[in-house]
Subunit: 348 residues, 2 copies
Amino acid sequence: MGASLKDVAARAGVSVKTVSNVVNGYTYVAPHTREKVEKALAELDYRPNLSARNLRRGRTGVIALALPELDAPYFAELSRFVIDAAAERGWTVLIDQTDGLADRERQVLQGIREQLIDGLIFSPLTVGREELAARTDNTPLVLLGERILDGPTHHVAIDNQRAAREMTEHLISLGHTRIGAIGAQDNPSANTAHLRLAGYRQALEAAGLPYDDRLTPSTRSYHRADGAEVMRRLLALDEPPQAVFCFNDLLALGALRTALSAGLRVPQDVAVAGFDDIEDGRYSTPTLTTISPDKGQIARTAVELLDARIGGTGRAARRAEGDAAEVREVEADYRLIVRESTVGTAGA
Amino acid sequence: MGASLKDVAARAGVSVKTVSNVVNGYTYVAPHTREKVEKALAELDYRPNLSARNLRRGRTGVIALALPELDAPYFAELSRFVIDAAAERGWTVLIDQTDGLADRERQVLQGIREQLIDGLIFSPLTVGREELAARTDNTPLVLLGERILDGPTHHVAIDNQRAAREMTEHLISLGHTRIGAIGAQDNPSANTAHLRLAGYRQALEAAGLPYDDRLTPSTRSYHRADGAEVMRRLLALDEPPQAVFCFNDLLALGALRTALSAGLRVPQDVAVAGFDDIEDGRYSTPTLTTISPDKGQIARTAVELLDARIGGTGRAARRAEGDAAEVREVEADYRLIVRESTVGTAGA
DNA sequence: GGATACGATTACATCGTTGAAACAGCGTTG
DNA sequence: CAACGCTGTTTCAACGATGTAATCGTATCC
């Protein structure tokens, strides 16, 4: 279909390599030649064949973003930032959904797309130390979310434990003494969940409040439905919580829904807080108190780290650098955003 | 990095082509040879180099999905379906966000990624007849959303006008006579908006209700904020509407928020309906009456059409078939889903 | 038993691009 | 003026995979 360098060369009456030189902005091309070639390029609407270029260069210009679910708003929002940040550096992003399945996550690590991508940004859900250590594929990798082990892996995350602690402290500061948490996970490699739970417990302890595990039921996943269901269970307790800290906003929105349809007022009867600051929470009724990670910063940092790791050159260089470079752990910013669901004055 | 056919061949003591034959399941390979080769393949953990394969085959195995915004839930949900449907057929999906910008949409049509993709599924927002007709790139294309012109373009969509009409009829059947619509667009090529508005007007007309353009203000885009803002204007009218039909769920959620914080009860004081059936609307309070397009069907159909159009073979065949094949217009299913925001009994 | 057919394997060219190196021309320089 | 250095251009050989056609061995047929 498209014209090749050969076609352009024929038309311009020069060699293929000269056309290649023009295309790549090589300095030593006579103005007159350059002009001729550019004319031919334009006339034939030349576009480099990326497969060929990649084959030759040993690069593809594509990075993958592997995440649990694209239709979870947090990840959708994050994706947008990653895509934008990548575009700025000339990368194309390919998205890989793992559905949080251990199997799929392992595949991602083993490099299903190895030959298609130059690098990988990976937000794991269940994968643990062993799997990561066992990784043989040496495609440059940047992890999002809490770091998993001391292996040679860059990662970018907010301090989940501290953030969770702050949120819990916020709820305590409002006078609540019986505070639930939604989002604990049975899966021991669900790192993020553990950290948030740890932060929650820290805050309780620091305030001298007892920890009651009936108030921290685990959920299967992090969707609205899980939040809604678990909230029903919490409200059915003899002593239901006065406030609930949900480990993400979707859970919180589900919990909110349950509370409201049970006829409770939020926050007067029960306060609800989330985590992630997805857009939904800014328009729910009541609006949602949450932790807002700096998603733009996370995305930008991840892409930068990956970019640096992929390095300037092809695969030979990649291997060399990759192993040598030291691991960077970047802590991203976040803010506690207080809205109506915890200190509300909203009517209804 | 990865082992090449050459490496495997050396190890197995056969020619490169024989290894290639094994890899590709060619029939005439002696069992003994096959065994040897497979052993070598496994030992070296061989993975075909896609750039090389693509260069040779003239295919990339990648299709692009171009849509306005990944972080609009409707598109995020749709993406997931498209990605799944594509994966089933061995395609990898690359997502292109246009932000609904005319410029970016035009670029997509002109084939920014031409050399990287075998096909394109495109959900346009602003692009019109002319741009589509002016398209020179002949990458197979399937449009999502209302068809734009009689050009050689497959497309998949629900009958927006009929759906909008049904929704409006639903509101009318509840006894509302003063019904607003949120989501009209000034942009004349905003096809979908026009169709939904047309459906709305049809229903009014059929019911003998007057059309009042103060009740159908246009919005800049389709986010919660737009819905919230326009709803404020509607509520400030001398005679505010008794019901509001929003052209997507995000607008509806924004409108809902405005209504509720103005102290109105929904649906008792004002009914609100949306369009798209995003998950948010199933958990908002009140839950959202909406039109639910069959996203799975849309995605599957789009991928199938594209698959057929790309055809079995390389680029030569592609061009030939592409022009010859007749255009297929597929109408996808949808359902009207009635929830609390129009016939609610929810407390609060 | 020699021609024939077919199974199994290989050599070679090729996809489009680019790095390395060679080469041609021309002005400098010692 | 020969050697050198520079610009400008070309030739050549890859990158890794695969389609085509050629080759080789052996079982089959008359």
